[in-house]
């Protein structure tokens, strides 16, 4: 992407970011705050301890309507979209005909509404919307909603804070979604996020965004959080970043995202790329996404080669850095399947030197979602 400052788009909170001292950087065609004066480390730790507010208005929001939009959407994803209960959101992968991952996205079935509400990644939204519209032509109509803003309020105190501006909201559980009002503004709120913490995503009209953001930031528990901490939080939570930890050369089995495929869909094999993915489901894939804990304190960044103990390169880091909550470096990457078991000792080639690392289960930091009691 060749961003020059001239053609960057602004979210509805741009003026507020500047007022808060946000350090603005180009991201997915938008000017976005990578951090505020508190800095990435404090913003990260604050989100895990209290509550952080993120502007994610650059993400793509849309509504999919038609006679049976859920059935239509299943032609581009292996997720069980028809099985999403009313008032729930579900994670899914958008697949190419060859079974490569074009993006990951969220689908919500709002109570009493025939249209599905979708959220896709910022960098992919134009391509995704064009692809979905084209693939579903004649079956469903996609209406992007660029007028909407999206805020995320994340952290153990997020529910207490949001309750003051949307009474009753704290009764929601993980992955539930509904229309409510927040600080007087009509909103679609889901109890989801990208940090591994409890929290909410709040979709509102762009014209209400600043009012809602200011109301939440006025609460003592809340700090504004930039994209830097968003990335370190999601990495500790073991969550993939599209374009880094997966792309259209990777399929859901390799990405270790089998859980996002519906059981009914796996059995029916009625999704794009069923040939390749079905074979990988049966025989296993040649490579697999894993978590790594490097020894010592040196981070291994994206692109770092992963070698076995004989020095043979068997994979590559796709996201790597330092986890403030872990107080240690951490990485995610792909390795040949023989080396993917937890506990496997490998080397990371950092600045020409082999640093020891161990394959570990993800998330690196335990999730604290507020799940419904069974």
């Amino acid at each position: 992407m060749t961003d020059t400052n001239d053609d960057l788009k602004f979210t509805p909170l741009h003026a507020l970011h500047l007022e808060l001292g946000g350090k603005m950087v180009p991201f997915a065609g938008y000017a976005m705050p990578v951090q505020y004066p508190a800095g990435v480390l404090k913003e990260h730790l604050h989100t895990r301890e209290k509550a952080g507010l993120f502007d994610v208005s650059h993400m793509g929001q849309a509504f999919l309507s038609g006679s049976d939009p859920a059935r239509a959407l299943e032609s581009v994803t292996p997720a069980d979209i028809q099985g999403i209960p009313e008032g729930m959101q579900r994670y899914g992968l958008l697949l190419s005909d060859e079974g490569g991952i074009k993006d990951d996205f969220m689908t919500t079935r709002l109570a009493g509404e025939p249209a599905l509400y979708l959220v896709v990644n910022a960098a992919m939204k134009d391509a995704d919307f064009a692809y979905i519209a084209q693939m579903l032509k004649g079956q469903a109509q996609l209406a992007p909603a660029p007028e909407r803003a999206l805020l995320a309020l994340q952290g153990p105190l997020a529910a207490d804070v949001l309750e003051r501006h949307s009474p009753g909201i704290s009764e929601m559980t993980f992955m539930q979604a509904k229309r409510v009002t927040v600080a007087g503004a009509p909103a679609i709120v889901s109890r989801t996020g990208y940090t591994g913490e409890d929290g909410f995503e709040i979709s509102i009209d762009g014209k209400d965004a600043e009012k809602v953001a200011r109301a939440l930031l006025a609460e003592a528990e809340v700090l504004p959080i930039g994209l830097g901490a968003r990335d370190s939080l999601r990495l500790e939570a073991g969550l993939c970043l599209y374009g880094h930890d997966m792309d259209d050369s990777i399929d859901p089995v390799e990405a270790n995202l089998l859980w996002s495929m519906g059981k009914r869909r796996k059995e029916a094999r009625d999704y794009p790329g069923a040939g390749r993915i079905g074979k990988h489901l049966q025989d296993g894939a040649g490579k697999k996404r894993i978590g790594l804990r490097p020894e010592g304190r040196a981070p291994a960044r994206e692109g770092t080669e992963i070698a076995d103990k004989t020095g043979r390169v068997i994979g590559r880091v796709t996201s790597g850095g330092f986890g403030p909550s872990l107080n240690a470096p951490l990485a995610m990457g792909y390795v040949e399947k023989e080396f993917a078991a937890n506990g496997t000792k490998l080397d990371l080639i950092v600045r020409g030197k082999a640093l020891g690392a161990e394959v570990v289960a993800m998330p690196f930091v335990p999730n604290r979602y507020k799940r419904a009691k069974k």
């Binding site: 480390l41 830097g228 040196a298 981070p299 850095g321 330092f322």
Partner: protein, 124 residues
């Protein structure tokens, strides 16, 4: 008497006799953000002016630290290995990276003085 000079790569170097102490400037530390890891050169290593001498990493990114002047490394600030945050707290003091025995004083004289460096940062 000691004298401090600066590079366009945002290192500072303080010269006392023929011993040069090197670190990153306050501006560099602020731009980098919270430092979580430093890799320091071993004593005895010879580095040329502008050569890679150390690494400093924040949560987000890794940056090289270059030797502002050539010479032989005489000491490294190993306190930074346990407490990398010192680089942010006191970049031009307790957050120093390494010391060099300077090989050519003319290299030092070519660097920016404090006023010139301040002008340089303003122009960025």
């Amino acid at each position: 008497m000691s004298e401090v000079r600066f590079t366009d790569q945002h290192e500072w170097v303080r010269l006392e006799g023929d011993e040069a102490t090197v670190g990153i400037t306050r501006h560099a530390a602020e731009q980098l953000g919270d430092v979580v890891f430093v890799e320091l050169p071993q004593a005895g290593r010879k580095v040329g002016a502008g050569g890679e001498a150390a690494v400093v990493e924040s949560v987000k990114a890794a940056s090289e630290v270059y030797a502002p002047v050539g010479g032989e490394v005489t000491a490294a600030n190993s306190a930074l290995e346990a407490e990398p945050a010192k680089v942010n707290e006191d970049p031009e003091g307790a957050g120093w990276f390494f010391k060099l025995k300077l090989s050519d004083k003319a290299e030092f004289a070519k660097l920016m003085d404090a006023a010139a460096y301040q002008e340089f940062v303003k122009g960025l």
